[in-house]
Amino acid sequence: MKDVALLALEHAAIRGVEYADVRAVETREREVTTKNGKAGHVSSSESVGVGIRVLAHGCWGFAATDDLSRDGIARAASLAVEIARAGTAAKKQDVALAPEEAHEAVWVSPCRIDPFSISVERNLGELLAVDAELRRDPAITLAEASMTFTRERQVFASTIGSLIDQTRVTSGAGFAATCYKNDDIQKRSYPNSFGGQYQLKGYELVEELDLRAHAPRIAEEAIALHAADQCPEGEFDLILDSSQLGLQIHESIGHPIELDRVLGSEANYAGMSFLTLDQLHRLRYGSEMVNVVCDARLEHGPGLGTFAFDDEGVPAQSNDIIRGGRFTGYMTSRETAAAVGERRSNGCMRADGWARLPLIRMTNVSLLPGGQSLDEVFGMDDGIYMETNRSWSIDDKRYNFQFGCEIGWEVRGGKRVRMLKNPSYSGISTEFWNACCAIAGREHWTLWGVPNCGKGQPEQVMGTGHGASPARFRKIKIGSAYGG
């Protein structure tokens, strides 16, 4: 891999570019799923290739290939330069980059149990045991369980002299129970929807999740939801569990702070942001107890956004995004940092494999723990608690959002008193975060993984991390998804 990276860099450099970086990437994945007592998807895949990014004639060019012969790499380097030259037909100004030092490093993410050392038979055995628990009651019409494991090694080299060899192992696991009856479909998932929990860990993550122990409760709740009352429509105090709050952070904080969106790069597809440059250090994003960081360092936790260096060779950093409720920072790249006069990128450029260009992506964007106990968070006379995402939508500038959850409860006097089905809530991002009035402490904080964040054209899928503990919000609009 190192030889491939250095050869690709050499071929780019000899073509007279102003700057070049290359990433030789080797990925191995395993996916095992079960469905209704049978093996579902049992597969493995591997992919290896190189992406060459050049800055020439003041424009970017990028070409990727899986032909790793000397000729194949030379062709890709030549194409990258040709593409950069073509960009001069519609150029306003030369691309400028914030300075960065050269780094040499070898880094391997912590992994206690190599997931690829665990047999597929053992994976299937665990998932089928979960499946059997879920289907003890025949009312469960669909039981689904899954595990996914990825190992990605990337060698980054650049013309400023960086040579960075990183290996990241990620794991994911979870299950869901669906109950269809009486013209209604209800579903419960553990530990989160859309595949469960994902972290920068080995097979130890699967062991920690203790999937089988949670299956009976999840199945019971999926069935019980059919008899539950419809979530009411109106304005209520709202408590969110940490997994739903993780997605709320992702959509209403994580995406708006991408500086490339702010500057218009994503306007045709993912959209722009309400966080225009004049809002920095001025906007009251949330209440005073809201503190949010963007932190790619291992110290923050084993998130899907944890690494040692980003895909421009910038070291992992921790940056304040919201401090004491005040908006304090964006996620940047070397190009966008230079565009707004920052001295350095804060290291958020990430690419989906070897075939895609690095873009500004969330690393771990997390709400820091608050000072309340869980009892204090639930300490309200009349409100609604929601758990586990079911649907999510937000406008293309990230003002107006609507989320649905799998399950809700009416809370009175700090206690859950009534199960509610089809709960949803909506609002405006800054109004929502300013309504935050209680955040549970560190002991309830979880670093969730979102494995499927889409951005860019051609689209790239990235894993991001979001730490959160349960929190309460005052007077939130609830239930309009099912309104009249």
Partner: protein, 443 residues
């Protein structure tokens, strides 16, 4: 290496392991995309890749392994991996043997003009489109992509199915101070795209929607342009699946044969439609059959993979995904029948309506009532007394598809429509009454 030569090596490697039932899918593609924003090209990429995916069947078990390394050793490794995974998997009494050869109609979807496009050609077309937007005093963002792809599926019982096609896409968002407009098109033949015309349309929408008015949420008559129709209606076709129904996750459970949409709604799945793209066979090599999914509002056909068909005692329809998978099958070549109207006539006929260019971030709210939420975006207008009178701030909708498709009052002729929320389809514009906008955003 040619696809058939690769497959010979796959078969040899499988035989060496004592396995005779083997399937291989070989794909290769070369795609390039030039992206622009703030009236300049800012990202410009190309990608060339091949992929080999092998499925082994061993004593009622199956599994798949994939690689993008295509040398002899890598092919031997990927076959060994597929066989090992299959042996480690659980036996499935319902697993079918590999299918036998079939004949496939040819879909001519490969065009030299698209395959030979260059970075300079794309950049020149973008420069011309940007001039249109700049002359309107606006800024633009968008993409121009071109690509070619081939797909070959072989199995050890003699199936040999091949497809190749080219695809070009142009999309542009024109932005003024407080408004925006969008246009997009796709075609197998690059010559069918007109970037300058699309730029003019986007710029015109941005101009017309300036100083947007804020209207209250509520039920409105809407005129949905084809991209808005496809991105919303397109969300339901995964449910026209025998496996989804068997799993109890389809809104068509207990609704097959029932009238759930209006008389004017007829929908086919037709891989050979002249405006469609894609292969004429499915992920196992079964020929795609034309389906009448909805006829005059009544749900008729659903898709069956071979496995789902065997369980139901019917013929497969050629809509299965590569095995093993949990989802079974789905129609992917949707053709929604159109009508006699046009967007212009819909506008002219409306006393008060909202004209919608595009929808965004559409997600399912209720799986059985098929309620979806999402936003309008990039060109949302108030129509009064037969004319567009103002741009309006974007709405959030929460709308059930059965209700919506029962309230369609007019349809335009069909086009190949391209959005961002689902795959391209052949779809008309629709005039829909009582569409539910639940909230308004800030722009």
């Amino acid at each position: 290496m040619a696809a058939d030569a690769i497959f010979e090596q796959v078969v040899d490697a499988a035989r060496a392991l004592g396995v005779t039932e083997i399937e291989a899918i070989e794909t290769s593609h070369h795609e390039a995309l030039t992206r622009f924003a703030n009236n300049a090209i800012h990202q410009n990429v190309a990608e060339r890749a091949s992929h080999l995916s092998v499925r082994a069947l061993v004593e009622g078990r199956t599994a798949r392994a994939s690689t993008n390394r295509l040398d002899r050793e890598a092919i031997r490794d990927v076959v060994a991996q597929a066989v090992a995974l299959a042996r480690a998997s659980e036996a499935d009494a319902d697993l079918l043997p590999l299918p036998s050869p079939a004949s496939y109609p040819t879909a001519a979807r490969w065009f030299d003009s698209t395959a030979r496009s260059t970075p300079a050609g794309r950049a020149q077309a973008i420069a011309e489109a940007l001039r249109v937007v700049e002359e309107a005093g606006q800024t633009a963002a968008g993409i121009y992509s071109t690509g070619e792809a081939s797909f070959s599926l072989f199995n050890s019982r003699g199936v040999a199915a091949h497809h190749r096609e080219t695809m070009a896409r142009f999309s542009i968002t024109a932005m003024a101070a407080d408004s925006s407009g969008w246009a997009k098109a796709s075609a197998c033949d690059l010559g069918d795209l007109d970037p300058v015309a699309l730029a003019r349309s986007a710029a015109r929408k941005a101009t017309l929607s300036h100083a947007p008015r804020e209207l209250p949420p509520g039920r409105y008559t809407v005129i949905l342009e084809p991209a808005a129709v496809l991105d919303l209606v397109g969300q339901m076709f995964g449910d026209f699946s025998a496996t989804a129904i068997r799993d109890g996750r389809s809104f068509l459970n207990d609704r097959i044969g029932k009238k759930i949409f209006g008389d004017n709604i007829t929908i086919h799945d037709d891989a050979l439609d002249a405006l469609q793209a894609g292969a004429a066979f499915d992920g196992e090599g079964a020929p795609r059959r034309r389906l009448t999914l909805v006829e005059s509002g009544v749900v008729r056909d659903i898709a069956y993979s071979r496995a789902a068909a065997a369980l139901a005692g019917v013929e497969p329809t050629g809509h299965g995904f590569p095995l093993p998978n949990e989802f079974g099958e789905a129609p992917v070549n949707i053709v929604i029948a159109g009508g006699e109207s046009t967007v212009e006539r819909m506008v002219a006929s409306a006393e008060r309506a909202i004209l919608v260019t595009r929808l965004w971030y559409i997600r399912e709210v209720d799986p059985y009532e098929k309620i979806f939420t999402g936003m309008t975006r990039d060109g949302t207008f108030l129509v009064e007394d037969g004319a567009v009178t103002a741009g309006v701030r974007n709405f959030r909708f929460n709308q059930g598809l059965m209700e919506m498709l029962s309230n369609v009052e007019a349809l335009s002729a069909t086009v190949r429509a391209s959005g961002e929320e689902t795959f391209d389809m052949v779809a008309p514009a629709m005039l829909v009454r009582d569409f539910r906008f639940s909230e308004v955003t800030r722009f």
